[in-house]
């Protein structure tokens, strides 16, 4: 191959690399700017410097107001609950926090009655929350592990990594950032309280049926992820406190016992699942979530429990 051809090839590849990085950066900046929930970015930027972190699904992120708890206890606290997220997801988030060097003193883990380790259509691995933050290698690795992208090309082409965000990036340049609404309004403490009542609130009644927890429906994957979550806490000397949040329904019989069996007796368990003070309809947005005002009240109540340590 002549020198001229070799030089042309090198220049072509160099330009290709530069363009690749530039396009990827433009997409990444746009898609991150579009988000109102940038908690994952905070994790990756090592800004998750709190003593207590809250984990769980929507019952965590809606019901727990860390700022309110910090007012009472003085303990820095932040909410890393993500609605619709399963055990597999919580484990990945915790691992990212630890690897970023921000392991907390304590984790307050809010369990879902009764599908914490049972597959449920509303709960899954919230991979969509990771897409905007693909510029971080650790996030790209999670995406690759899930088979969404081929791994080696993500090392070579950043544009390939970011192509999944292209529509959102275009939307940002057209419409600007996503606007929070009554259901999606991230607070500075990571919580997302709900200011409104659900559409069927008027017809909502207390569910007093006797539901028995069925171990045969448990998912081996979610059981494994639960065990990994516990182990991550133990291996990193993180105190794990498990919270059974208030719901406008009778707790599933046997669920609490099963969670204790899985997590171990030597943990702190805080049970608000069936307390009389939270058995009033007006406290709730729907059967599983308190409304904004009452999440504050609950958080003050919870602060007293946490302060007992």
């Amino acid at each position: 191959m002549s020198k001229k051809i070799a030089l042309k090839l090198i220049l072509f590849l160099a330009l290709l690399l530069v363009l690749d990085r530039a396009i990827a950066a433009a997409i990444s900046n746009a898609v991150i700017s579009r988000q109102y929930d940038t908690r994952i970015e905070k994790i990756m930027e090592q800004e998750m410097n709190y003593d207590i972190l809250v984990f769980g699904s929507s019952r965590a992120v809606r019901n727990i107001r860390p700022a309110e708890i910090t007012k009472t206890t003085g303990i820095p606290m932040y909410n890393l609950g993500f609605h619709g997220a399963n055990m597999d997801y919580h484990e990945d988030i915790l691992r990212l926090v630890i690897e970023a060097g921000n392991k907390p003193e304590q984790i307050l883990f809010v369990v879902d009655d009764d599908f914490e380790v049972i597959e449920h259509p509303a709960i899954n691995f919230r991979i969509d929350t990771f897409y905007p933050f693909l510029k971080y290698r650790e996030i790209a690795d999670i995406i690759c592990e899930r088979g969404i992208k081929e791994c080696i090309p993500t090392y070579i082409s950043h544009s390939y990594t970011q192509n999944i965000n292209l529509n959102e990036a275009i939307a940002y340049y057209k419409e600007g950032p996503l606007q929070p609404d009554a259901l999606n309004n991230i607070q500075s403490d990571g919580s997302m309280p709900i200011e409104i009542k659900s559409d069927d609130f008027a017809q909502m009644t207390y569910d007093s049926s006797d539901r028995i927890y069925d171990k045969s429906k448990e998912s081996p994957l979610l059981l494994e992820e639960f065990a990994k979550f516990i182990k991550l806490c133990d291996d990193n000397n993180i105190k794990l406190t498990i919270l059974f949040p208030p719901c406008y329904k009778k707790p599933t019989i046997g669920f609490k016992e099963r969670i204790i069996e899985l997590a171990g007796e030597n943990r702190k368990y805080i049970d608000f699942a069936d307390t009389p003070e939270f058995r009033k309809k007006d406290l709730y947005y729907d059967q599983n979530h308190l409304d904004a005002q009452n999440s504050l009240i609950f958080s003050r109540r919870l602060a007293k429990e946490l302060a007992k340590d």
Binding site: M1, I5, F12, L15, L16, L19, D20, I23, I148, K149, E150, I152, P153, S157, S159, Y160, N163, I164, L166, N167, I170, A171
Partner: protein, 483 residues
């Protein structure tokens, strides 16, 4: 290994570099090993079938070449044909025949005991067995000499760029090229790479994006009526063209890098002015194979009219059957046979009508009408090709114009996708057809090579980044892999 996969992006350069580094006498070994590795990436065990059928075909032709006895040569020809067709029947048509017989027996309230067998269709079997057959027939007819070198013959059959989805190459074209010494040629190599990139654009940007929309409708046709059905069918016309011609471009470009020239498989088929012309431009390697080994031996058009029409019908019936073991493919093939016959019967009438309408004074309009009608007929036939069942196809055919005006609403026409997705796909189709229009005046790659460096590189970067950025995240297998 898919052509649009990262593995192939590594595989092709490695093989090409090794090809040019190795002395010529070892290159066939490299290509043979690479080709079998490429094939075994799907299902290793089926490489035995490939090897076995290759050896049998080689053996039969070798024995034919050793014998002067006509009867003995014919016997070996029959043996090779029987073996190839038997393999094809067992792996591709046995369950279809079984199911069809079962349906027939049940229609007469008779019991039918034979169960369906769980047989996986080996990828590329229809293609490489047709290459075996064409070779054996050509040797029998003394059009070519039997290849004495088993390795070279095995490479002709298994050559990875065209192994699994064509072009269906003739031994007379490929074997001499495999024996020839090829040198690294910068222009030839870069031209091959450009063709690969263009093929990837058609496959990844156009075909795969359309696939998501077409699948939305064709997986549940009864959920749609009117304009979405028409749109999905028209889009499928572009999907199958881009999928298959994109594959062919990648195959031709890959072979070109190493100095092997594969035949053109597509020549802007949707610009055809008649069905007859369409079949000279669409899947050229298959249509020429059917012409040479089915249509002409039956007598072609050098027979009385009814026999000519019969020959056309049989040829297209076989074409339909070749495409798939399902009645929808047979109907598709028969439909095209019917088009050809109707075209032959009405040729004079159409010419007189065109003259009466003075279309000869407006050749552009005349051509537009011819291209439009031909495209319409082809697209209509694709309904059967794409549908999952005859019931689905019939539903689509009978609901194409149901509530047409009310189904013209934009959200429905996005066929399950959002606006961005839809319009990017349409833009890609327009870009592709613009390139086809330019190509009427010559090779666009040749035209591009005469442009300034900045413009050329701008085009290359645009193509590469559009493939990287706009490719749909879900990977679809090439449509013709199922044949």
């Amino acid at each position: 290994m898919l052509f649009n996969s990262f593995e192939f992006l590594i595989f092709l350069p490695l093989v090409s570099i090794a090809f040019f580094i190795l002395p010529h006498r070892f290159r066939w070994i490299l290509l043979l090993i690479a080709s079998y590795y490429f094939y075994m990436y799907w299902e290793p065990v089926y490489a035995l079938l490939l090897a076995g059928s290759t050896f049998l075909s080689y053996y039969c032709s070798y024995r034919m070449s050793q014998s002067e006895s006509h009867r003995r040569r014919l016997a070996y020809l029959y043996l090779s044909i029987l073996a190839s067709l038997s393999i094809l029947f067992v792996f591709k048509y046995l369950n279809f025949a079984n199911e069809s017989l079962k349906t027939l027996f049940e229609a007469f309230n008779m019991g039918y005991a034979l169960p369906a067998l769980h047989i996986i269709l080996p990828v590329g079997v229809s293609f490489y067995l047709f290459q075996n057959l064409s070779y054996n027939i050509d040797v029998y007819n003394k059009k070519i000499e039997a290849e004495k070198h088993l390795g070279i013959y095995a490479l002709y059959i298994s050559f990875f760029p065209q192994l699994v989805a064509g072009p269906i190459e003739r031994a007379g074209n490929i074997i001499p090229q495999l024996k020839e010494k090829h040198y690294f040629d910068y222009k030839r190599v870069t031209d091959g790479i450009k063709l690969i990139v263009w093929g990837l654009f058609k496959k990844v940007i156009v075909a795969d994006r359309i696939a998501a929309m077409v699948n939305e409708v064709y997986s549940n046709p009864t959920g749609y009526e009117g304009a979405p059905l028409i749109l999905a069918t028209v889009l499928f016309s572009f999907q199958i063209y881009c999928d298959f011609s994109g594959y062919s471009d990648i195959a031709i470009g890959s072979a070109q890098i190493m100095g092997i020239n594969l035949m053109d498989n597509f020549r802007r088929p949707y610009f055809s002015k008649s069905i007859s012309e369409f079949w000279q431009r669409w899947h050229i390697s298959l249509s020429s194979w059917l012409k040479d080994y089915i249509y002409i031996p039956l007598g072609g058009n050098r027979v009385v009219k009814w026999r000519w029409y019969y020959n056309l019908f049989i040829t297209f019936f076989i074409s339909g059957l070749w495409h798939g073991a399902a009645w929808t493919f047979v109907i598709w093939g028969v439909l095209h046979g019917t088009y050809m016959i109707a075209g032959a019967i009405t040729a004079d009438t159409r010419a007189r009508l065109a003259h009466a309408l003075r279309l000869h004074k407006a050749p552009f309009i005349h051509k537009l009408i011819q291209v439009g009608v031909t495209f319409g007929l082809i697209t209509f036939a694709w309904i059967f090709f794409r549908s999952n069942s005859i019931t689905d196809a019939w539903y689509i055919v009978t609901h194409l114009f149901t509530n047409f005006a009310t189904t013209l609403s934009t959200p429905l026409l996005y066929l399950g996708q959002n606006g961005y997705y839809f319009w990017i796909t349409i833009l890609a189709i327009i870009l592709m057809e613009s390139v086809h229009l330019i190509q009427r005046h010559g090779s666009i790659r040749h035209m591009l090579s005469k442009q300034p460096l900045a413009l050329r590189w701008g085009v290359y970067f645009s193509l590469i980044f559009s493939i990287v950025l706009f490719s749909y995240t879900e990977q679809y297998e090439f449509i013709y892999f199922q044949f």
